[in-house]
């Protein structure tokens, strides 16, 4: 249940060194930078175009930042933030020929300690990097609208569901349980970013600590699909309390989601996290322990990940066409497998799957999850 927002904002043009899929470091090796409280010592003032690697050491006492700025001194080509005293961090950027500024910002205040930096032409084709910013802006806007649409439908179906449950129309409530949750599962990392709401809405029984009150979807799930022994059904009053709480918390979620905007890395990381959800919680049948409707959740998680990918796809085609094609293929393969488990408007129950089918699902999810994890770095570097 990691908050979506814990993926700290990364500026469009930079990426942590781990995400660097191209190991060709700057010609002449990494460029050493020592940032003290008063100085910004950059080992070289010139480099060839392509991937540049800056090894930034904080030699001062204050927390510092390092920037590579465009010739206007405003546009951020790459940045590395929050470098603690005595720590060293790498900044990897892709830079075209031209004039730049390096800047250290000890104490993270002011305009920073700047110096000119020149990138000469190495012959590396840098054309792919152009126009991507606009495509990414479109991608994040599309995704924002998708999330709003999903949460609106979630509110609507949740209310229908809680009304049925309160009215003791258990068969109809059971039938709507998974189809309503689909809209939660599609945007799960966004929903989980609200650390107070998520436990109230989606905690499983095993997630509780001693003495903690259990509310939300899975509390009602257990009441609708009760264990055969040792369970006391909820009274009408208890049903009303838990149902109203679910509806109110979902409405609260909707109001908060309305305010959200997204960065490209949040789309990429969100897609990766959705596949993680499938890989760890759903493929094992732990999420829907009583209803066994895990495959609805799997489909919804995959839907959400695919939408984020498709929003990013135009930008990705410019940056890494091979990855775009790989992901398209792997999404299709996973969907083909999921289609085999469809029944009517929904799916077979998790406990009807054979061990071999679960294993195949797991392997197919991993086959998509691995390349999908490189999406963020591919679009933002």
């Amino acid at each position: 249940m990691k908050p979506f927002t814990s993926a700290v904002t990364v500026a469009l043009t930079i990426v942590g060194v781990s995400a660097c899929t191209d190991n060709t470091a700057s010609e002449g090796g990494p460029i050493a930078v020592v940032s003290t409280d008063t100085e910004c010592k950059v080992a070289r003032t010139e480099a060839k175009s392509g991937n540049l690697v800056f090894d930034v050491k904080n030699g001062g006492d204050k927390v510092t930042e390092f920037y590579l700025l465009g010739s206007d001194g405003l546009r951020i080509i790459g940045e590395i933030e929050n470098i603690g005293a005595d720590a060293t961090r790498k900044l990897v950027v892709k830079a075209a020929p031209g004039k730049y500024f390096t800047s250290c910002k000890p104490g993270m205040v002011g305009d920073g300690i700047r110096a000119s930096f020149t990138v000469t032409d190495s012959g590396t084709d840098m054309s792919a990097a152009s126009d991507v910013a606009e495509l990414l802006a479109t991608a994040t806007d599309q995704y924002r609208l998708y999330v709003r649409d999903q949460v609106a439908t979630l509110v609507e179906k949740t209310t229908q569901f809680t009304d049925l449950y309160k009215a003791n129309k258990d068969d109809e409530a059971r039938a709507l349980y998974a189809p309503a949750r689909v809209h939660w599962e599609r945007i799960e990392p966004v929903a989980e970013s609200f650390g107070d709401l998520d436990p109230r809405l989606d905690l499983r029984e095993a997630d509780l600590e001693a003495g903690q009150e259990w509310t939300g979807w899975h509390r009602i799930e257990k009441d609708l699909w009760p264990p055969s022994a040792g369970y006391t059904a909820m009274t009408a009053a208890e049903r009303a309390t838990i149902a109203d709480r679910l509806a109110a918390d979902t409405a609260d979620l909707s109001r908060r989601v309305e305010q959200l905007t997204f960065n490209p890395d949040q789309l990429g990381n969100g897609a990766k996290e959705l596949l993680d959800e499938v890989a760890t919680g759903k493929v094992t049948g732990e999420e829907e322990a009583w209803s066994h409707t895990d495959l609805w959740d799997v489909q919804a998680n995959v839907d959400g990940a695919r939408i984020a990918f498709e929003n990013l796809r135009p930008a990705l085609l410019k940056k890494d066409k091979t990855l775009a094609e790989t992901l398209t293929t792997k999404f299709a393969e996973l969907q083909t497998l999921l289609n085999q488990f469809k029944r009517g408007d929904g799916f077979v129950y998790y406990n009807e799957l054979t061990a071999e089918q679960v294993s195949e699902l797991s392997r197919t999810v991993d086959a998509l999850g691995e390349p999908l994890a490189t999406l963020t770095a591919a679009v933002v570097l």
Partner: protein, 413 residues
């Protein structure tokens, strides 16, 4: 006939070396760095607690199958004698692996024959179920001597415990620098127990993730991060006395010189972890991956400074980072001594490794040192996205034995 190098013959040399290098640290040989040396078995405290962490682990829990307290007492005597011999690099039994009657099965199973003692330590513990069954029955007349804090650990958020990997009446922790020596120890003790106690679960650990001596470098866990940098080290005598050995005023007399062992089998979702950006990995841990330095700055052993803030005045170390939540400053000053090990137990049937960290901690009081911290970690730790606890046990570890006595002697007096 070719020259036979028995473990006994080897020991004539190695044992002397170990004796010469052993520090006057109570009941252990923390400074023994030679990987083939012997660690003294007898002492005020059991070995294998503050002993410099060996590279390999084989730990086993046993269910006592007899109803006879005499048989149980006899087993502990025989286990103690065998453990004393094996830790000294000797075969089990009077005749050992090769020298017994030709028509009889050898007393010692033989796979450690010719190997060094490999700093083997064997540490014994007693589980809550030895003192009372779930329905309160006093199985062996020991209920009145139950250690103060020896109760089953509570359910922690997100626990998914396998009963076949949890609990147990007795515990044997064997640590050595040679995996075959560790496995040999558990195997031979299990053999001695047939009819009295049966293995309930056992776990191999292939690499240490803790250092218990300042002379050891910090090892990495399967997340690829240095683990246990702030662990209690044997050299910190005051911390060991305060946080590891029980306070005699709080415990029955037989627990003098003893401690509690918390054992948790923690599965890691290493596949999804490996798909996570380096940035997020470091945020989750709160340290950098290369050096193990806290994200607030400095080197590995620089004290984490949770007050340092970065952009937007956010703390450099996230309030849900593992380091923040586990730090003594955020746990009422409580510290623990850890002896964790990396494990992989084949695959899980989903095309992934069944891997993780077998967490072992020794604490004077689990109620104040472990349970509150683990509750916070299980609820809030960013790492929980990649962790699942699948096994759990708590044992009371009595003090060491004197030559001629046996482990737990005073419990049965």
């Amino acid at each position: 006939m070719t020259t036979r190098y028995s473990r006994r013959g080897f020991l004539g040399v190695a044992g002397g070396v170990a004796a010469a290098t052993a520090l006057p640290l109570t009941g252990c040989a923390a400074a023994s760095s030679a990987n083939d040396a012997a660690v003294p078995f007898y002492g005020a405290h059991q070995a294998g607690i503050v002993t410099a962490s060996q590279d390999r682990l084989h730990i086993a829990a046993f269910d006592v199958t007899t109803e006879s307290v005499d048989e149980l007492r006899d087993l502990l005597q025989r286990w103690t004698a065998a453990a004393a011999r094996m830790t000294a690099g000797q075969d089990v039994g009077e005749f050992g692996a090769m020298d017994g009657p030709y028509l009889a099965p050898p007393e010692d199973t033989g796979e450690a024959f010719g190997l060094s003692p490999a700093r083997l330590t064997i540490t014994f513990g007693f589980g809550p179920s030895l003192f009372a069954t779930d329905d309160g029955a006093d199985r062996f007349g020991l209920a009145a001597k139950r250690p103060t804090h020896l109760h089953e650990l509570p359910h922690f958020p997100a626990d998914n415990l396998d009963p076949r990997r949890s609990g147990g009446d007795l515990c044997v922790q064997a640590c050595a620098d040679d995996p075959q020596v560790a496995v040999h120890a558990v195997r031979n003790l299990a053999r001695l127990a047939f009819g009295v106690a049966a293995v309930r679960w056992s776990q191999l650990g292939f690499g240490r993730t803790s250092s218990t001596s300042t002379a050891q470098r910090t090892a990495r866990n399967l997340f690829g991060f240095k683990d246990g940098t702030a662990n209690i080290k044997a050299e910190e005598r005051d911390a060991v006395d305060r946080f590891v050995w029980v306070n005699p005023a709080n415990e029955p007399a037989w627990m003098s010189g003893g401690t509690y062992m918390v054992a948790r089998r923690i599965n890691m979702h290493i596949e999804t972890w490996d798909r996570t950006s380096l940035k997020e990995q470091e945020i989750d841990i709160g340290r950098d991956k290369r050096e193990g330095a806290p994200l607030s700055g400095g080197k590995e052993f620089t004290e984490a400074d949770f007050s340092v803030t970065g952009r937007d005045d956010k703390p450099l170390i996230d309030r849900r980072a593992h380091v923040f939540l586990a730090h003594p400053a955020n746990n009422g000053g409580a510290r623990i001594l850890r002896r964790g090990y990396n494990f992989t137990d084949g695959s899980n049937g989903l095309g992934r490794l069944d891997a993780g960290l077998f967490f072992i901690a020794f604490v004077a009081d689990p109620l104040t040192q472990y349970i509150p911290m683990q509750t916070k970690l299980s609820r809030d730790d960013l790492l929980m996205e990649y962790l699942q606890h699948t096994g759990s046990a708590l044992f009371a570890v009595p003090g060491g034995a004197t030559d001629g006595g046996f482990i737990g002697l005073t419990l049965f007096d």
